[in-house]
Symmetry: C2
Subunit: 301 residues, 2 copies
């Protein structure tokens, strides 16, 4: 039997990390956007004499140590007494490590697809397992809970699905421009001095967004956060300023990757695409805002 799960990519505009000894109480406050592109997870399950779990990223088998989060999720969701072959194929629309929530997408897609098959967990139980291993392995703090809500989201209480609280902003039709330009180590940033600025600026942005909960305000606050924390600088800032000349709302930086994003009206698209050609940036994505829940179901290919 083949199961497919789709989890939207999730980009963070600003955040406040919240750590706790209990990984289910660990998470983040902040805001971000779920995209119509993301992670597709296909799970194939067959009975057998021994228990084997195989994981592949974009068609290439990966070792356990390269996919600790998804292996840990699979081990926990698959019933202990199950014997057989479980193949987990994860396909990512965005590159790993650039701030698109791939590890959470793979973990959550794995948890939901296996929960769907084995019927031994509820949706929140499966999602909590994905959140827990994300946190324990420093994949991310708020991606899983954001992804299960979709849309433009505001994390107003930190924690795992069922514990944290996620709100949404009403939004008219915008396109999202996403430009992955390089990797950024979440761990390095969180372990550095910037963390204090992140906490201060993130809290301020959250309060201002809740007072005026619009996509337009979100983009202004995201940019202030990115510049005031010193994260958006150098070449990345220069490209952002080039894009800003052509669109109404400020662009900003994806937390945490060397990546940019912007909300565009359809009519703003051609000029921006021309500019990106001039700047020799070929690798960019135009997506919609994903306003739905993750999808999981039997796959009839």
């Amino acid at each position: 039997m083949l199961i497919r799960a789709f989890i939207p990519a999730h980009i963070t505009a600003f955040f406040v990390p919240k750590f706790n000894e209990n990984p289910l109480l660990t998470g983040s406050l902040g805001a971000g956007i779920n995209l119509t592109k993301g992670t597709n997870v296909f799970v194939s399950i067959e009975g057998g004499l021994e228990r084997h779990i195989h994981i592949a990223f974009n068609g290439e088998p990966v070792k356990r140590e390269e996919a600790v989060i998804s292996y840990s999720v699979a081990e926990e969701v698959i019933p202990q007494e199950f014997k057989g072959e479980v193949e987990i194929w994860q396909y990512f629309d965005f590159p790993n490590g650039y701030g698109f929530g791939n590890s959470a997408g793979g973990a959550l897609g794995t948890a939901l697809a296996l929960g769907y098959y084995f019927k031994n967990k509820t949706f929140l139980q499966a999602a909590q397992i994905a959140h827990k291993h994300e946190v324990l392995n420093k994949g991310g703090l708020g991606d899983v809970i954001a992804q299960i809500h979709g849309g433009i989201e505001i994390r107003i209480k930190a924690g795992a699905p069922g514990i944290g609280v996620v709100d949404n902003i009403f939004s008219e039709e915008y396109k999202v421009l996403a430009i992955p330009l390089g990797r950024l180590s979440t761990k390095e940033v969180l372990d550095s001095d910037i963390i204090k600025a992140i906490e201060k600026e993130g809290q301020k942005a959250l309060e201002k967004l809740l007072k005026n909960p619009t996509p337009e305000n979100l983009m202004h606050l995201a940019r202030d956060f990115a510049e005031n924390t010193g994260l958006l600088q150098g070449e990345l800032l220069e490209i952002a300023m080039e894009i800003d000349k052509l669109i109404k709302l400020p662009s900003s930086m994806i937390m945490l990757g060397k990546s940019l994003f912007a909300l565009l009206r359809k009519e703003e698209l051609p000029k921006v695409q021309e500019k990106l050609r001039d700047l020799s940036i070929d690798n960019y994505h135009i997506c919609g805002i994903y306003n739905e829940r993750p999808k999981v179901g039997r796959w009839i290919g």
Copy 2:
């Protein structure tokens, strides 16, 4: 400008009411199903010199006292300083008072459509206003929070959206048969002696469902609840037993209406339809399970 919101009909399988002085802490535990049919709310807004709010049910204008919940929601979401004409057109796929969550659908659809237009509330703030007026006017306790989650849902913590917690069961493709047969006053049932049996049986069903969270188990528990509380009896029980002869899972009663529901496989449908013809029951619905979030957006008719 014309805004449209779609809110799924929500049928309750079993429940435990939870009352509190604070309407945001009032709600219910239990389980139910969101349907692909439900309530469509169209909101038309034009500027003007005076503030007027008009509400219509299925194309017929209704007086304030016949639509207290939706009027109260509109008054609270529309900014105090707004002057102009607001028309709220609510269309219901199911009859009112039969247990399909119409009042919550109208209230939530109104709140979301107005929140979308005025951009002065977040999604949860708008949904909380709908929940509050549902509770204050005894429209329902758990419909609003169930409707924002979709799917087959389990209410594991009572309260308004953002406070209560709703989980979901993974479910393969089932069709839902819904037969509205008569009205039942929620208020009369909640004020009667049956309430003690509802609390005891509801709590028991919830615990059993969480141990084995499948749609199949849900239907067995729903039927036990309906019979053990004495709510499912007489003619309604006789019809349920006729349907049971033809399908794998037990049918049950919709809480609270004189209505029945069942989960069917596609291949079970023709026999059931033939039986309903024999029983002279013409007024029934075949729907899907609605696994998405409520929809709200600009309507281009």
